[in-house]
Assembly symmetry: C2
Homo-oligomer: 726 residues x 2
């Protein structure tokens, strides 16, 4: 969708606006909005609306919207909550399709407020009106000077035009972020705070910004999110447009996080899912506002890095080494320079030290044009996307800096496909001069490298993204063609045996084992399977069998099996006399192998997430697991497996032969299909352990937790539609 067709564009680019609840008192909320727009020089027409009519801050004020003699594009409502419904009705009557409600006193306050908000939302929906708010801080759109907000941040600060846009739910968070941005002189395009989100939410705003030609970088803050799919689609759209999206999530601390039934659920709960989605969609998650702004600043300069290799040129050795240390921590490669380049470097600056980082030493001041000359050599002879130059105090030096600026400007023009990041203390004026030439400058070397690391990571993620999107289409095609019928869901919770039967239908390998409901049947099963066997108690209510002695290994003969049957029954009863006992499972003894854990977490927001980890302490102690959204492609399944530290255990640990990761991929894709089909019914799945050995694999134990009572399963088509946006 192009920007001019985007349904939210009129919020940011109205030709005229009615301010309902306008005030002559420029300090009151209804007066401040008008004052800010007048001060900013809004290019459209403002129609103050107030029962008193007359004149408001030099503008003709109308007693009601009905009196306004022309069609108006947008309304901003700043009346008491009790009067908001009437105001919105007036907008509807006047044919206004875009309304901001800045007033508070709605769902954030009490039940009456909640009802009021629902009424407004319903009215808007019924009349095709889009709403931002209520209880929001409104919109700032810098290109057309539309400052429809009462944020006190604009009292003292005035945003410069530029390419960074902000979409936040909380006005407070937003104004903290953009106040910092304005204070450091970052150029801003659009700001929107969505407040209670009766209609438009942050994800939809990001979707608009993705198409907005004024916006180069999107900063977002998410508190709640209504639709994971809308957010995903918006992030993917921004990535496809080559725009960096830097997101923060507020409210991640452990307080209030709930215990979950499976490992997968417990680990996913600690907001790993959000991380996964952000990464998969090519965006970056920042932890502090300053980190967000640093990355946004760096990404306002094009081009985005094509690779993660960088050169470091420094007028001072120590800082070059520090930046190299930082680069390693932030995933940036600092490769050595090619031999011919080394010769050219020393021809130009005989006293230069090292290769990359290349230290000009302070003596470089004796060679006019020396810094830019070395920079040019480094760019000409390499494919590094980025060159970082530490300039020490030169950008503070009124004599030395202007010629260097000119040199660097030329260099920039010669290499438009590279990113040039400068570091050193500098004045405001020098910063602006550099930015005009397409470069960025940071005071702190560590912050420069951290921001570059994020930009490189996003570029890499965006590269993977295109492949993944293509693959996913393929996968969806295959799935739709397979026509597999969904297994019937039992009415009650699932036990291990039922869980394994379902896994088997999705191609996961299980043992030839039998559920027995009397001791003699167990003996018969053991004889068929062949001694020695394993006996396990099976009950949907007993999830941690081992801990109650519910698994008995190495049963060598009929007598042992018979005895085990009785013992297991007794132990289960002793543990929980009300538990439903499905019976005793008789399985073959298998030799130990390498244990992994496969899982599904049905995220309420982002849908099915597939988890992979090595078993045992890797998961329980070190949380060495990774997540990926379902449906999973083969490529993504391999990436998932390779992304954990424990991957080393699969690739020939301590001289042992490597295990067949293809078996894991197949199982993970089966689990992903299961998760998509069962999307409506599932809570989570643990396949733990999933044991690999030479060229075989098997689910040794499995736990499937469904909603209680199990919901009716959605049809295949619905399930597929629901995930088609991933």
């Amino acid at each position: 969708m192009s920007a001019k067709d985007h349904p939210l564009l009129p919020f940011f680019d109205p030709q005229s606006v009615a301010v309902i609840g306008a005030s002559s008192d420029a300090d009151k909320l209804g007066g401040r909005v008008i004052r800010f727009m007048l001060k900013a020089g809004y290019r459209g027409k403002i129609f103050p609306i107030n029962r008193k009519a007359g004149n408001v801050q030099g503008l003709r004020c109308y007693a009601s919207l009905a009196d306004v003699p022309q069609q108006v594009d947008q309304a901003v409502i700043i009346v008491p909550a009790s009067a908001a419904q009437e105001a919105l009705q007036a907008c509807i009557d006047h044919g206004i399709k875009h309304v901001q409600i800045l007033s508070s006193g709605f769902a954030e306050e009490d039940d009456i407020g909640r009802q009021r908000q629902e009424t407004l939302a319903r009215m808007a929906r019924e009349h095709g009106v889009r709403l931002i708010g209520p209880n929001c801080l409104g919109i700032v759109s810098v290109p057309n000077r539309y400052f429809a907000t009462f944020s006190t941040a604009l009292e003292a600060l005035s945003p410069q035009p530029g390419g960074i846009s902000f979409a936040t739910q909380s006005g407070a968070f937003g104004s903290c972020a953009y106040a910092q941005a304005i204070q450091r002189g970052l150029g801003i395009a659009r700001i929107v705070a969505t407040g209670n989100e009766a209609d438009v939410d942050v994800a939809q705003c990001i979707d608009f910004l993705a198409s907005d030609p004024e916006t180069r970088v999107i900063c977002g803050a998410i508190e709640g999110c209504r639709s994971g799919d809308v957010l995903r689609r918006a992030l993917l759209r921004a990535s496809a447009a080559g725009k960096a999206v830097v997101l923060m999530k507020v409210g991640t601390s452990s307080r209030g996080q709930l215990a979950a039934a499976t490992h997968t659920g417990a680990i996913a709960g600690n907001d790993r899912v959000f991380d996964t989605v952000v990464r998969e969609c090519g965006a970056w998650r920042a932890r502090t506002i300053e980190e967000m702004l640093d990355i946004a600043y760096l990404c306002t300069q094009l081009p985005a890095p094509r690779n993660s290799s960088a050169g470091i040129l420094t007028v001072s050795g120590g800082i070059g080494v520090l930046m190299t240390d930082d680069a390693e921590r932030h995933g940036i490669a600092i490769p050595g320079i090619p031999a011919p380049l080394q010769d050219q470097v020393h021809d130009l600056v005989p006293f230069a030290i090292g290769d990359n980082p290349l230290d000009t030493t302070a003596q470089i001041s004796a060679i006019p044009g020396g810094i830019a000359g070395l920079a040019r050599l480094m760019l000409a002879q390499t494919e590094w996307s980025t060159l970082c130059i530490y300039l020490a105090q030169i950008p503070c030096d009124e004599r030395r800096f202007p010629p260097l600026l000119e040199d660097l400007g030329k260099l920039r023009a010669e290499y438009p496909d590279r990113l040039i990041v400068l570091v050193g203390p500098h004045s405001e004026r020098m910063r602006v001069a550099l930015e005009e030439q397409g470069m960025v400058i940071f005071s702190d070397p560590g912050r420069a490298i951290a921001a570059l690391g994020a930009a490189c990571a996003m570029a890499e993620r965006r590269n993977c993204l295109h492949d993944t999107l293509r693959d996913k289409d393929t996968v969806r095609g295959i799935r739709q063609a397979s026509g597999r019928a969904l297994p019937a869901l039992p009415d009650a919770p699932l036990d291990e045996f039922q869980a394994k039967q379902i896994l088997a239908r999705y191609g996961l390998p299980v043992l030839a084992e039998r559920l027995c409901t009397c001791a003699e049947d167990a003996v018969l099963a053991a004889q068929e399977i062949g001694f020695p066997v394993v006996a396990k108690i099976v009950s949907p209510e007993i999830r941690h069998k081992t801990e109650i002695g519910g698994v008995m290994l190495n049963l060598a003969d009929a007598g042992a099996v018979r005895e085990a049957y009785a013992t297991l029954q007794a132990r289960a009863r002793a543990h929980d006399e009300k538990a439903t006992l499905s019976g005793v499972l008789i399985s073959p003894m298998i030799e130990p192998g390498t244990e992994t854990i496969l899982g599904v977490h049905m995220d309420p927001l982002f849908g099915p997430m597939i988890m992979f980890g090595m078993g045992g302490i890797s998961v329980e102690l070190f949380e060495d697991v990774a997540f990926a959204s379902a449906p999973l492609t083969e490529r993504r399944a391999y990436q998932l497996i390779e992304s954990i530290k424990g991957y080393k255990l699969l690739k020939g640990w301590r001289g042992q032969p490597a295990l067949d990761t293809g078996l894991l991929v197949k199982a993970l894709i089966g689990l992903s299909e299961l998760a998509c089909d069962w999307r409506e019914a599932l809570v989570s799945i643990d396949v733990n352990p999933f044991v690999l050995k030479h060229d075989t694999a098997v689910c040794l134990d499995a736990l499937i937790v469904t909603r209680k009572p199990p919901a009716a399963l959605a049809s295949r088509d619905t399930a597929c539609m629901a995930t088609s946006s991933c």
Copy 2:
């Protein structure tokens, strides 16, 4: 040692200085130093020295030091390297005891330079002269305006007086750090860059700053370090004086790190030892210059936090939640508020939300004095050391801020034992006004919380420190009394059997096992021990026995032992036909237990470090180990064990009974004693695995790597003396 007795004080506080190599050209190095001192208003007397004599920048210039008619406190030498020796001789002849050599062209350049530097160092030593430099950036001492440096950072920037001091080796690093500090308006006491460190090094400077009443916070950057003991002592002295020390280490990336013979050595190599020492000495290691300066800024305000609990008061909910998220990541507790306080809060501000963080909401502007009132309630009713207040844009508001400033100032005075950290965009003027009242303010909430986290951690470390120091004295006393004779060291590398014998002498439990040099002896040993037994090849050259099949388990009878003997010999020969075979070790089979790894890394700088980790993948995959300096106290040994993630495996993992960590403590202390005794001979030790089971423990395998050829062992007393400073 008080500051006025400190041998380095005269460098920072000279009454008079001779500048040897003074220049009339204020831009040349020898002119710039004089220009900076004149501009800064140095309070002592400057004697320019230059063959041409006459007048230098308005000061009388002397042709030689001999012509100066009075005793001079300090000399600054800025002559070509070839003339430095003569200049130093002149200082010696004149009786100057403190000399800075700023000139370059010494060890940093070539062998001739190195020899020149050694000559200067020897001359200084012989005549009791202390040297800073050569090839250094010199000293800035703000209280007496002594700016003896040619750093270009001072061209445009002028430091404000304050409590932060900098000691770095690299002048470039130092000037980058203090240029940033000056730009953000931090108050500075002393700056010193030690360059080539022919005599005085950074550690000695930190030692001086620890005693310096002008210095409240010490920022240091270490590249190389000559003496770990001197650094430790300096850090401990600073901690004892309640001063925060924030250190950076330059050069940590993996390039060029060497492979090491043991796990312990390999893991220690990745600069964990430095982390350990910094932590043990109560200091903080920063990763970026900005992080260092943020912490320094926060720590300039007293008091240091007594505990890690903080209250968060915010005028905007979203930022309060963000700060709470950050606090969790940075180890700061945000406890709930007591019930009576909740009532008082709501009496004062009925619309306040939450408890901690406490959200005043934007409506607080309607209650004059409301913010300070809530802050006062929070401080009065709790023991939290710190109160963080997010003020949004209020500090930019010329009308709202002055009354708030006054309120907060009063509050500050009422609670001198608490730290008040403010957050919000602010003007320079507001910042200064707040600092004058004893508060700090940050723009970015994330940076405020990160800096506070470091301050809290340092305070906690300093609390432990006093205990540890006391314990160490006790331990040393016990060790000196024990009078244990050192075992004789063999001339050749040690094999497993020898290693275990040595460990046993230090009280580490080993198996009753026998080294056999013929098959029949092996059978005899097995019969004595009792079948089944284990047979292992023993050779100092074969370190990874398992991987060559050099360990055979579960040998059930004499025949099996005889066969194993032959097989092991053959495998060893096949692996390395030149290896010295000590024989075959016959050991009892023991049941599996919980595997841990104990280790010693003899750090070239910091001496013996003790390592502890859980065995297997915990170490090899996740590097879940911790280090502590030897000698180890019992308390420190317990801390060491408890500090790894795998500690959970010892404390009753998955319903199993807890293991006896006292056995681990005993073994670790034995290892620590061994490491201290063998300080001169040892490279590293792995006891891997050290197996715990119920209430027993045993070293199952051990590797001791000594210097090659083994150095003569130091006597006990020397070993004790060498560690007495730890």
